[in-house]
Amino acid sequence: MASMAVGCPSRFAFAWRPVLLRAVLLIAVAAALWVLWETFKWVGETTGFRLGVFEVNDRTLPHLHDIIGQLFEPSRRNGPLLIEVLWDAALFTAKEAAVGFAIGASVGFTLGVVLHHSRFLQRGLMPYIVASQTVPILAIAPMVVIWTGSRGLPSWFSVAIIAAFLTFFPVTINTLRGLDSADPRALELMRSYAANRWSILWRLKVPASLPYLFTAFKIAATASVVGAIIGELPSSIQDGLGGAILNFNQYYLSSPPSLWATNLIAALLGITFFLIVAGVEHLVVRRAPEHVA
């Protein structure tokens, strides 16, 4: 390139320093949490200090190393290691959550686009869309299970539908907001080029809405995991993390670390979903550096 007006580093030059800094920060926070956890446990156990009715002992608050250690113990006598069981369960739940996310995000985006183009529909439907989110999942889950079952769909699909139900809402709301975020003069520009609605949507409004969309996708990604886990409970599906949570809940008194370990894996699954969306955002959204944050 002949001349570079600005000393901006190339986008593809990998900056190691911030990554390193982040890694150090991540480890430092994890270590601090560990210290906090163990200190609280130690203080509680030696002084009998309690938070309200929350009594600290190995049952209510196991050692962190016991929780992690539990992952590498057999899940039952002569059975596979707990981490193998939870890995399979996490994959199962991930499938439900991913399909749910895909359905929810597509439906949410499409709904947002339709409502953006019709104030009439927006006014008419919006109250019901909001109301849909106030319905408890436990109330609609049995209906979804029966509906999908009667159509010969696999039972995990009903869980995906429940996850989608939790996922579409933030996407719709942020699509609506994002499509309106295009610069008014950029819209005038499109009109001056005699661009039709379709071109204006795909060449201006959707690209302009991407930062909003990805904010929604991040919320939706973690919500889809939560939705899948919760959805497994009333659907009586045993193969996922929801089933594992239910199962280890029953054996909590004999082995508290198993439930904690399951929660840990569930959290890691949610974080993985979030990171995937954040990674895609990094690849897709091209913005001035100060806009990326």
């Binding site: 390139m1 009109r191 071109s199 913005r287």
Partner: protein
Amino acid sequence: MTEAAAVSLRQVGRTFAAGNVVALEAIDLEIQPREFISLIGPSGCGKSTLLRIIGDLIQPSSGEVVVNGKTAHRARLDRDYGIVFQDAVLYDWRTVARNIALPLELAGWDRARREQRVGEMLQLVELTGFEKRHPWELSGGMQQRVSIARALSFSPALLLMDEPFGALDEMTRERLNAELLGIWAETGSTVVFVTHSIAEAVFLSTRVAVMSARPGRITQIVPIDLPQPRTQATREDPSFFELVTRVRAALHGGSGRDTDLSLAEAE
């Protein structure tokens, strides 16, 4: 009606519904092909509104607008004009080359033709080598040059410019003024140029239309007969100062109507 006129305005008025504000009143203006006409006036005189009426981005409340011998609406659909705003309004997610190619994509040009034309336009605005850059990697002046290249990419006969250099520093502004005149001479397009700056209007234009506010109207049209091509020396020519003084006098009540807002309101 003159068939040959690039833009013809007849008794054009615009009233904004909110508060019955008369933004423009009885505007008559004929702009000939290859003319460079500036609209100058105080804030609120409706010069930007007038530009948008010519571009069919705002509808007039009354009167007739003819662009290239057609209705303004038809002219917009035929992509007869390019427009440049005060801010470059580039799409952050597109490279410089793809920003310039945007109107060509919309007009259905194939990729090979687009690439060739983008190359030519980059040369015209002296940005060759920057095609893969993103807008936020460029300075304000460079961004505005991309915006001009985009507006001219499909060779419109008419170029509408709404204070295109208003946000730039004086040095950049003068350099881009000179570049714009070069582009104007090269492309042979008609330019309608909205500005706040008297010196800029005089330096660039073949005619300056002086406007007053409340209601917005054209009070005087000052022909600028400075020789072409205009250079840095033009700015130091006594006749340049003379014309600047004339336009300034016209701005400050050339029609007996004072443009000072407090006085205008007292009427």
